[in-house]
């Protein structure tokens, strides 16, 4: 990859990471309510998965959606405003943290029912195939979703109809406080899917942007060529609790440390420094830019207001 691209990788991951830090701050200040699931630590999965997609490809995922929204090119201000519940948010403040949505970047939603978005991804794939397009669908979900019936129905249908859906399972080893070992008879998400749904699978280090990006490229190519779905198990880790209200006492320090050693951001920085000797200033400059963008995002959110209650019934039906 070219240096400027690599610098963008660094910038983007810092942006996503920084966004979550701001969200945590604002949540503590009581300006953000509800359930709030941070993506910190898993940035390489989303960025690697999104990197080679086209603007017209569809992206859909879970309630842990800030990372995907930001890294897909969503406006951090509109995302932050949504978390504030303000009308200038990406869903007018009606969706909230778990339900970001933006048709302009074809980010078709964060969904809060585990596994619930998987059949919807199949439908997007069906539409693509029906219209003879060469778009693809990226559907991201967690390890816990593989225990939900709808997920299985979806995987079977996507394979049966050879739809251009790429399943990205973020295996961060926990579903809230329950480890994969304690919830799935088959601990490998990839093996759990491969034979059952007869599709190509890969297991990848989700803390490594390059690995993630390259398996994704293969999957995209296959999907665009009409060869059907692929499954990617990204081994990763969430640095924080399941949501802002989870102290995550069920994970021991050592485990957390082990994964923080593999933090994708220092990792990409090291690569860049190794391949091109980039002065620290350049990184600092990007960090500064991230800070500015996020400050503006918070300002944008603060400047907004909740929809007036008179408008409560808007958007219930199309007329």
């Amino acid at each position: 990859m070219r240096k400027d691209e690599l610098m963008r990788v660094y910038y983007q991951m810092q942006l996503a990471r920084g966004f979550e830090t701001r969200v945590a701050e604002q949540y503590m200040k009581g300006r953000i309510g509800g359930f709030c699931h941070l993506y910190s630590g898993e940035e390489a999965v989303a960025l690697g998965a999104l990197w080679s997609l086209r603007k017209d490809d569809y992206v859909i995922g879970s309630y842990r959606d800030h990372g995907y929204y930001i890294l897909r090119g969503g406006d951090p201000g509109k995302a932050m405003a949504e978390l504030f519940g303000h009308a200038n948010g990406c869903c007018k403040g009606k969706g909230g943290s778990m339900h970001l949505f933006d048709p302009d970047i074809n980010f078709l939603g964060g969904y809060a029912i585990v596994g619930g978005m998987c059949p919807i991804a199949v439908g997007l794939g069906l539409a693509i195939q029906y219209r003879g397009e060469d778009r693809v669908v990226l559907c991201a979900f967690g390890d816990g979703a593989t225990n939900q019936g709808a997920y299985h129905e979806a995987l079977n249908m996507a394979s049966l109809y050879k739809l251009p859906v790429i399943w990205v399972c973020e295996n961060n080893r926990y579903a809230i406080g329950t480890s994969v070992t304690r919830s799935s008879a088959q601990e490998s998400m990839a093996r759990k899917a491969k034979t059952a749904y007869d599709l190509p699978v890969s297991v990848v280090d989700g803390m490594d942007f390059f690995k993630m990006q390259s398996v994704m490229e293969r999957a995209i190519k296959r999907a665009r060529e009409g060869k059907g779905p692929s499954f990617i198990e990204a081994k990763c880790y969430r640095y924080r609790g399941h949501s802002m209200s989870d102290p995550a006492t069920y994970r021991d320090k050592k485990e957390v440390e082990f994964w923080k050693q593999r933090d994708p951001i220092p990792r990409i920085k090291a690569v860049i420094q190794h391949d091109f000797d980039v002065p620290d200033e350049e990184f600092k400059a990007l960090d500064t830019k991230v800070r500015q963008v996020l400050e503006e995002a918070v300002k944008f959110a603060e400047a907004g207001h909740e929809l007036p209650p008179e408008r409560l019934h808007e958007d219930l039906y199309v007329d």
Partner: protein, 328 residues
């Protein structure tokens, strides 16, 4: 004008809408090669081919979810659930996704999905296969719920549902598929939310929907023989339902019987009655009578099952009870 069956009327609506709009696609269990377990999709695979009419695995959550995604992908899916009883395994996709996505995403997701499903009892299919789930859908903001009683309405309203950009639960009654009725050629789409008076009367209002509309008509006929002029209103759509039309009728007749096939608690009749009391309290000379499905799962035995389902005689009894009350 030739008689057409409820089944064929639905089939015509599907065919005409598919001819009219390239983006209309049908899928479901055995809808293509088998032509539907109630044969509503007969001939459509042949005419439109496997891209527009195809079979699915037995995966109702998958079917409904696929319809949602397909709609976001700009096609107009008309999935069939083999029967309404199988909507229960897809309830999360229907109530917690389809119904609320347009609202939750601030109006950005538009879901022109029409889910067809035959409902109702009366065929000795047993407890798990004889549900009338209409109240569950009517309770849910974000859905439209249609339940036609006649071939003409079946056709007109299915066309309207398919063209509508909102999610529509389209209930068909298993007992009506063979019902014959007049269906005008080049029938225009109906209007979702409009009730229809199928019989004029001044003494009492009988409110029905789906198969219950015919129970009401039967009762009106019997009542007429005893000199009681009953007005029969077919709701036709259950969400939204035509409160004004029904209230106007009750304001005229001062008495009403509401008929529902489902059990009574939190049912359709409770919904209709409560609103009528609110809209026409002073006009009412007697409590509104409800004739409901029995408050049990439908049993298999024919006599027991029949005892669960409203009949004309039950409605006549209820109407007489309401008539017996003297105006204050």
């Amino acid at each position: 004008m030739a008689k057409t069956s409820y089944r064929d009327a639905l089939n015509q609506a599907l065919r005409e809408e598919m001819q009219r709009d390239e983006s209309v696609v049908l899928f479901g269990e055995d809808v293509a090669e088998y032509e539907g377990s109630f044969k509503v999709t007969r001939g459509l695979l042949k005419e439109f081919g496997p891209k527009r009419v195809f079979d699915t695995p037995i995966s109702e959550a998958g079917i409904v979810g696929m319809a949602i995604g397909a709609a976001m992908g700009k096609i107009r899916p008309v999935p069939e659930l083999m029967t309404a009883n199988f909507a229960y395994v897809a309830m999360d996709q229907i109530l917690n996704h389809l119904a609320l996505m347009h609202y939750m995403f601030g109006g950005q997701a538009t879901l022109p999905v029409t889910i067809r499903m035959p409902g109702g009892g009366g065929h000795q299919l047993g407890s798990q296969h004889s549900h009338s789930p209409e109240p569950i859908f009517v309770h849910t903001p974000g859905l439209f719920v249609v339940y036609p009683a006649t071939p003409a309405d079946a056709k007109a309203l299915l066309k309207a549902a398919i063209r509508d950009d909102n999610p529509v639960i389209f209930l068909e009654h298993e007992g009506l598929y063979n019902l014959e009725g007049e269906v005008p050629d080049n029938l225009e789409p109906g209007v979702i939310g409009e009730a229809k008076a199928l019989r004029e009367g001044s003494d009492i209002t009988l409110v029905g929907y789906g198969a219950m509309t015919h129970v009401a008509l039967e009762a009106a006929e019997a009542l007429a023989k005893e000199g009681v002029k009953a007005e029969v209103i077919d709701l036709r759509t259950l969400r939204p339902w035509d409160k004004e039309a029904v209230a106007a009728s009750v304001s005229k007749t001062h008495r009403a019987v509401v008929i529902e096939e489902c059990p009574p608690a939190c049912g359709i009749a409770a919904e209709v009655a409560t609103n009528l009391y609110e809209l026409a309290f002073d006009a009412l000379d007697a409590p509104i009578e409800r004739v409901s499905g029995a408050d049990v799962p439908l049993p298999y035995a024919k006599n027991l099952e029949q005892a669960c389902i409203p009949h004309g005689t039950d409605v006549v009894r209820a109407a007489k009870k309401a008539m017996a009350r003297q105006d204050p």
